[in-house]
């Protein structure tokens, strides 16, 4: 084949408006953008100051998600002053510039990266920019999504393009069967541990292989979502029949003849057999165990059956220092078994793991059980539609009888920008994506893991292997 291309090349080439120099800078056309209330305000102010318009308002979807309260009783006015200011300004901006908004009382409201795919707003072959690093999520649908800052949002709104430099290409091949109780969260956590928090900096990752193909679309989203924690500025998978099935009846997917035409085009979205990647990594799924982070960077992770590692065994001085600092912050002793770490909180939520399938897995673990009396358990569904679905399926009842708080949708304690914040010294098992210092509140200690693992920890009061719990169930 002449000039074989990777999927990434195909996506970028088909969106290149023009080249800007001979160093690889291009003007990249962006099909759609998703906006939230906290990274967009200054972009709109910039447009106003320069008297610029939004070039293509219909290419934007705006969702309130980061600052809103997740109290069960929804109210349109945010209780917290800063949040209220941002929500009001967001509403005004969307209205003034003609952008569609899902506000807090909209039944389609939720975390932007859960909502956009759910509505069929994201389609294969698209390039999408959004003011949030986890825009990589959309790669699970064969789209190329990436996070941008506020100045870039302004640029995108004004021009529908971005000044872009092509990334290097990495392929991650995962083969073999996942063990019982091991999920796609564990795959991506294993990748991040293996290559490090900057292992994919400067790269776009294509995930492929039989294990990826066997995953559901929602499980694939978890993988693409968290790839940014390895530094990837884009992560995607070739769209297949499963993707088309997932999309077919979504509210905003094309219908009828247009759908057939689109599907035919999307079937061309794959890396050519001869295409060359700058880096290749392969991973055996059968070796992956349920993963847990012990530190303050997502790559500081171990198997649930492991122990807190010893910095002295790390030869790289910068990494060693990082480990020492993390151990002090996390208040953990070298060599302590991970399963003995007691928790005070359990949080199930975020755009990584709060879709309906995640909640079904949690329900399977907690059905008929009670969470440990020393643990506060919170479940925040990824979107308001997920919340309704979980109620219809009876999952919400299971959570409530187990002792969990069943809350409204939003980012909530994934970044704790709203009123869901923990106190110094709290220790939280969390289905989210970042265990940074202070992420869930100043001095709070976060352990990342799959939602089923969070559920297991909530029941036992300490981190534990979900596989032992499922066995009790049988």
């Amino acid at each position: 084949m002449k000039n074989p291309k990777t999927l990434y090349d195909k996506l970028i080439d088909s969106h290149t408006v023009c080249e800007l120099d001979d160093e690889g800078h291009v003007l990249l056309y962006v099909d759609r953008q998703v906006l939230n209330e906290y990274t967009s305000p200054q972009a709109f102010s910039g447009l106003r100051e320069a008297d610029r318009r939004v070039r293509r308002p219909e290419a934007s979807l705006a969702v309130v998600d980061h600052v809103n309260s997740t109290e069960a009783q929804r109210i349109s006015v945010q209780p917290e002053e800063g949040g209220a200011l941002q929500v009001n300004f967001f509403e005004k901006n969307c209205k003034d510039f003609g952008i569609e908004l899902f506000d807090i009382l909209d039944r389609r409201q939720g975390i932007e990266h859960v909502v956009a795919p759910e509505q069929g707003f994201i389609l294969p072959g698209m390039v999408i920019g959004a003011g949030d690093s986890h825009t990589t999520t959309y790669g699970a649908l064969g789209a190329f999504g990436f996070g941008i800052g506020t100045s870039e949002i302004e640029h995108l709104l004004a021009t529908q393009t971005l000044i872009y430099k092509k990334l290097k290409k990495m392929r991650v091949v995962v083969s073999g069967a996942l063990g019982v109780g091991v999920t796609s969260k564990d795959i991506i956590m294993a990748v991040i541990r293996n290559i490090g928090a900057s292992g994919a900096t400067g790269y776009a990752i294509e995930f492929c292989g039989p294990t990826i193909e066997a995953l559901s679309i929602e499980a694939r989203m978890t993988v693409c979502n968290m790839a940014v924690e390895a530094g990837a500025r884009g992560a995607f998978m070739a769209p297949d029949e499963k993707v088309f099935e997932y999309l077919e009846f979504k509210p905003r997917t094309p219908k009828g003849q247009l759908w057939l035409q689109a599907k035919e085009k999307w079937a061309q979205l794959y890396s050519d057999a001869e295409a060359v990647f700058d880096k290749e990594i392969s991973l055996g799924a059968s070796q992956i165990e349920p993963m847990v982070t012990w530190g303050t960077s997502p790559d500081q992770a171990v198997n649930i059956n492991g122990c807190v590692p010893n910095p002295r065994e790390e030869t790289d001085p910068i990494k060693r220092k990082g480990m020492e600092r993390a151990l002090a912050y996390m208040d953990l002793a070298v060599g302590a078994p991970i399963e003995e770490i007691a928790i005070t909180h359990a949080f199930i939520g975020s755009c990584t793991n709060a879709r309906i399938e995640d909640l079904r897995q949690v329900a399977a673990v907690v059905r008929g059980k009670k969470i440990n009396p020393d643990v506060r358990g919170m479940i925040v569904p990824g979107s308001s539609e997920v919340r309704v679905q979980a109620q219809l399926e009876g999952l919400a009842d299971i959570f409530i009888s187990a002792g969990f708080e069943w809350r409204q949708s939003g980012c909530s304690m994934c970044l704790a920008m709203n009123d869901d914040v923990l106190s110094p010294g709290d220790r939280c098992a969390s289905s989210t994506n970042r265990n940074f210092e202070g992420r869930q509140g100043a001095g709070v200690r976060t352990h990342l893991m799959s939602p089923a693992m969070v559920a297991a920890a909530a029941i036992n009061g300490h981190l534990c292997d979900v596989r032992t719990i499922s066995m009790e169930n049988d």
């Binding site: 003007l27 056309y29 293509r56 389609l123 690093s133 900057s198 900096t201 035409q261 920008m417 202070g438």
Partner: protein
Amino acid sequence: MEAFNVVIGKVAPMLAANIDTDVIMPKQFLKGIDRKGLDRGVFFDQRFLESGDLNPDFVLNRTAWRGAKFLAVGPNFGCGSSREHAVWGLKQLGIRALIGTTYAGIFYDNCQRNGLLAIELEEEKMSELASLLSSGPVGDVSIDLPTQKISLENNGDIKFDIDPMRKEVLLLGIDAIGSTLMHADTIDKFEHRHLKENPWLC
């Protein structure tokens, strides 16, 4: 955007790996709708004590590095959240350039868009600089973008690479939107064809 030409100042060492934007600008400072007052938020949890007083142990609070204009940073600086507030805050605090090996992608672009020069040095050069800095303050440093060099008093020069387009934008303080809008016709044509070929995008 503020242009960058030659800037002289102190360089403070902050060499830990993976310093994320949650640490650079904690969430409580993200609640505004403008860019104001973010200097206070920079490294807040480390810069201030619980009492609200400056933490005397934090590098930027020590006499030797007070008012530093440059930070020498560890690998993957600025990872995590896309919040541009981190860059706005650093600039408001008076930081004009970062010297490191690698930066997280979004953060790097955010620096570029705000005239904060993020210098990428090869590991070898960086570790030389790092060991120099860890042996104590090195006096004033000059960062010269036109000639692409960092000059240390008594300790010679370090050359750095930067791609020509980024360099030009920083040197001239160019407004990217303005320059892109000069391609408005090309964008129109592209868009017209693109939507015709992919009519489900309309």
